[in-house]
């Protein structure tokens, strides 16, 4: 069996052996359900739009909460040293942890597919926007995960890892919203770097490789920074 997958399974089991995953998933479903139900029953609009609007905002908090322990806790407990002396490369360790949080993101958005199913039965589901939205959520979540893992590798303290991960993602989230305050030439750059900007593009139902590429490159970059940091063998 591939060591990446073995690690992923252990990580996933660790999520679901502790209450963290259940608390996060419950609150996640409660909040998305509230927004979905509101639109459906109060406004009589059969749309996933409000769910797609709220989920990235939830990911901002929830994903750093899930990833905060990944490396910080292993460093604190000393298990990282043992892990990094097993016959695997550092990159495989990082990949295993990233795959685990990505699968967790998949599970969480798969649970919201129930809403899509209800809409498909009740009314017209905008298939393009739904597919684009789910792809966007998946990429958005994976990218948050990679940043959360990077933050967790920097410190031994889980709380610091959480705040740091949240902070980085939040700054990326704000980038395309502050374009009004910066010179024109900068606005384009900031917009392109914004993590929400590309999601909004995908949400329109247009799947542009530039948007997909953005998420993949940020994920890869965060992974590389994590690898670079771990290679220095922090205590």
């Amino acid at each position: 069996m591939n060591p990446v997958w073995i690690l992923t399974r252990r990580e996933l089991r660790a999520y679901f052996d502790s209450p963290a995953a259940y608390v996060v998933l419950s609150v996640f479903l409660l909040l998305t359900g509230w927004f979905f139900g509101n639109t459906l029953f109060l406004e009589n609009v059969a749309s996933l739009r409000s769910v797609f609007d709220i989920v990235p905002f939830l990911f901002l908090f929830f994903i750093p909460a899930i990833t905060m322990s990944t490396f910080a806790e292993e460093r604190r407990a000393g298990t990282l040293e043992l892990l990094l002396t097993l016959p695997v490369r550092d990159g495989q360790v990082i990949a295993g942890k990233l795959l685990a949080v990505t699968l967790f993101v998949l599970v969480s958005i798969a649970l919201t597919a129930l809403y899509a199913l209800v809409l498909a039965l009740l009314g017209d589901l905008d298939l393009g926007a739904t597919v684009g939205g789910y792809l966007g959520l998946f990429l958005f979540g994976m990218t948050c995960g990679s940043i959360g893992i990077l933050a967790s590798s920097i410190t031994r303290n889980q709380i610091v890892a959480f705040i740091l991960g949240f902070g980085i993602i939040f700054v990326l989230y704000l980038l395309d919203k502050v374009t009004a305050f910066v010179p024109g030439w900068m606005a384009g750059v900031l917009q392109y770097l914004g993590i929400d900007y590309h999601y909004q593009n995908l949400l329109r139902g247009v799947i542009d490789t530039r948007d997909v590429l953005y998420y993949l490159s940020v994920t890869a970059f965060a992974g590389l920074l994590t690898a670079y940091h771990l290679a220095r063998r922090p205590e």
Binding site: I6, R10, A77, G78, E81, L82, L86
Partner: protein, 310 residues
């Protein structure tokens, strides 16, 4: 075989390991001795491919830690200091995870874990979560984990720290049993441990290798003299002391009352010859009743203090 050649490791400007060379033969149990912060752990971390060396080379079975790290890791079992374990895992699952990570096919997990449980005395706890185990059991889990893939070489960093005396004896016995088949490097700052379980001792201090030999060799080469305890009954302590002082080769370090009617002398002699027969004959000549005659050799503790003091 492990070959460490001119190994140096620096952290910033601090030299944690300073130009160390040694060779560990297959099947040897090597004790790494030194005060805290002497560079024991750092050397082990380099051999296990956790840290890269700053200078010098380490060869494990001819493989270089810089180039062939994955192949070396496959041959090693490692128990880091403080026995880090995933506390939220069940013992069986943890061992299965480590077995899988070390490339053991899933079909062999059950058999290997069973063997490890038997060797390390884990039969009763395989189904328990690690955080519910005592320190002694955790240590056994750590050892089981290190041996699950049956590696020819084991690296154990302070395997008995924090255990109670009974547990220490148990773990030592275990290491002894393991040492019959495998090459073992273990570090410790507890001296009796080395005497109890090691074929050979390396003493390092401030990153430098200061002694290398069997425990007996080290004792012999560093014992600059001997101490003899002599108990005499019914004698007049003062006259016994006088005779001893005039006798020649010994000096009285200390004399103390031993029970109601005896005196216990501690004598020092600068010679390596065994003075006990001579003392016995002296006692016979003088008509003393001996209650005790005992020679203390310089033990490893003295050697260690001599080498690492200051």
């Amino acid at each position: 075989m492990i070959e460490v050649r001119d190994l140096t490791k620096t952290y910033g400007s601090e030299r944690a390991v300073d130009d160390i060379s040694f060779v560990v033969q297959p099947g040897e149990v090597l004790g790494f001795l030194g005060p805290n912060g002497a560079g024991k752990s750092t050397t082990m971390k380099i051999i296990t491919c956790y840290l890269p060396p700053t200078a010098g080379t380490v060869l494990v079975d001819g493989l270089d830690v810089r180039r062939d790290t994955l192949a070396i890791r496959q041959r090693l079992g490692y128990l880091p200091e403080h026995t880090p374990l995933y506390l939220d895992m069940v013992v069986y699952d943890y061992l299965a995870f480590m077995a899988a990570m070390r490339g053991l096919p899933a079909s062999e997990h059950r058999r290997r874990i069973g063997e490890m449980a038997e060797l390390c005395g884990l039969q009763g706890v395989l189904g328990k979560r690690i955080d519910t185990l005592s320190k002694g059991y955790r240590q056994r889990v750590g050892l089981a984990q290190a041996m699950i893939h049956n590696p020819p070489i084991l690296i154990l960093d302070e395997p008995t720290t924090g255990l109670d005396p009974n547990q220490i004896v148990e773990i030592r016995e275990l290491i002894k049993a393991i040492g019959r088949e495998k090459t073992v490097i273990l570090s410790t700052h507890i001296l009796p441990e080395v005497q109890a379980s090691c074929d050979r001792v390396l003493i390092i201090n401030k990153g430098k290798l200061v002694a290398d030999g069997t425990p007996d060799d080290l004792q012999a080469s560093f014992s600059g003299g001997q101490r003899i305890r002599l108990g005499v009954q019914n004698g007049h302590a003062a006259s016994v002391a006088e005779v001893l002082e005039n006798w020649g080769p010994v000096q009285i370090v200390e004399s103390q009352q031993d029970g109601d009617s005896g005196t216990l002398f501690t004598l020092r002699a600068d010679t390596k010859d065994d003075l006990r027969p001579h003392l016995f004959r002296l006692a016979v000549e003088q008509g003393w009743t001996l209650t005790e005659l005992h020679r203390d050799q310089a033990n490893l503790e003295d050697v260690f203090r001599q080498l690492t003091a200051g």
